[in-house]
């Protein structure tokens, strides 16, 4: 953080390498296997290899990708398809608003640059950056992020091609275990959020996301977010107010 200007380039490269190394392991493997599943699904549904690859490269959000291939293959009306994809990937909005300052760390960036950076922000990168960024010097956050997502993106695109080309790469029981690993990793990461209100939001969101799913399907993610997030903030405020009251009481 206090590095002289001359050190900026090598230290940025080092941060990018650290980000890339951070991705090797559970994050990259998880995205790789998820996208293998997506590639295999898209081929089964009759998509071309190029379209499948482009879907991963430009959507970069698995729930929306799945909604797209399933509904396009089923010949769903245009409006239904667009609404379903938009619904499935709506979390990109709050993730971008909160993730962007996290990865920029106060660094100035133009509109196009910011738009480019967040194109690679999906659930894995957002979750990992929330966990790791506060411990990084501000100047290293962007290179760390870019190193991390470079590996993640490469793993996702490779997985898509392999899934499309060969189908499932693991026998079914092994695949089920592997597919269990990624969301568990991300849920444990968000469950360790620094702010108490965010930890409460995670608990409420998880309960609501599961509980509402049978009734409202993919919209349960949005409902879990709005209801869980709002409740968590309200409870956090009430706690803070109670604390303030107590302190006032002892003072007086």
């Amino acid at each position: 953080m206090t590095a002289a200007p001359g050190d900026a380039a090598p230290s940025a490269r080092a941060a990018a390498r650290r980000g890339a190394r951070r991705c090797v392991g559970v994050p990259a493997l998880g995205i790789f296997l998820s996208m293998v599943g997506f590639g295999a699904l898209a081929r089964d549904l009759g998509f071309s290899g190029v379209q499948t690859f482009v879907a991963t490269a430009l959507i970069w959000g698995l729930p929306g990708q799945i909604a797209y291939v399933e509904l396009a293959a089923a010949g769903a009306p245009l409006t239904v398809l667009v609404a379903a994809v938009a619904f499935a990937n709506m979390r990109m909005l709050p993730m971008t608003v909160t993730g962007l300052p996290l990865i920029l760390g106060g660094r100035p960036a133009g509109f196009l640059a910011r738009t480019f950076y967040v194109q690679f922000m999906a659930v894995t990168a957002w979750t990992q950056m929330n966990a790791d960024a506060p411990d990084l010097p501000k100047a290293q956050r962007l290179p760390f992020y870019l190193g991390f997502v470079a590996v993640l993106y490469a793993a996702g695109l490779t997985g898509t091609l392999i899934g499309y080309g060969v189908g499932a790469v693991l026998p079914d029981p092994a695949m089920r275990i592997a597919v269990f690993m990624t969301p568990l990793y991300l849920l444990l990461l968000v469950a360790a959020a620094r702010h108490g209100s965010n930890r409460l939001a995670v608990a409420l969101g998880a309960a609501l996301g599961v509980g509402l799913y049978p009734a409202i399907g993919d919209a349960s993610v949005l409902a879990a977010g709005l209801i869980g997030g709002t409740l968590a903030i309200a409870v956090g405020r009430r706690r803070a107010a109670a604390r303030a009251d107590r302190e006032e009481g002892t003072d007086g």
Partner: protein, 110 residues
């Protein structure tokens, strides 16, 4: 599948339907003060959305909420969080406990 051109148009729409959220996020992010109450609310909503999606995908990856398929996953999830908590919120321990117990259940034929 639809005709080639129409298929590409559908893909372009699907890409746009995701891109608009990121674009809106970029447009909004400069206007929301990082220390403010609005930012805290948006962050809590994002955390709750991610948790809601992940919990559902852990318990019912294909959307199938039958107890028979969900039971072993719920058990492994509970094991993961119990160990995570006991080990001082250790990600490694929690993940190992969850994946390990799920692997045992799958190997046992569940």
């Amino acid at each position: 599948m639809a005709e080639p051109l129409a298929a590409w148009m559908l893909l372009a729409l699907a890409v746009a339907a995701t891109f608009v959220w990121r674009l809106a996020g970029v447009a909004l992010s400069g206007r929301v003060a990082e220390e403010g109450a609005l930012f805290a609310w948006i962050a809590a909503v994002a955390y709750a959305m991610v948790a809601g999606l992940m919990a559902r995908v852990i318990l019912a990856p294909g959307g199938d909420m039958a107890l028979q398929t969900m039971g072993p996953r719920a058990l492994a999830l509970a094991a993961a969080f119990a160990v995570w908590k006991l080990r001082g919120r250790s990600l490694t321990w929690g993940l190992a406990a969850g994946v390990g117990s799920y692997a045992v259940l799958v190997a046992a034929g569940f």
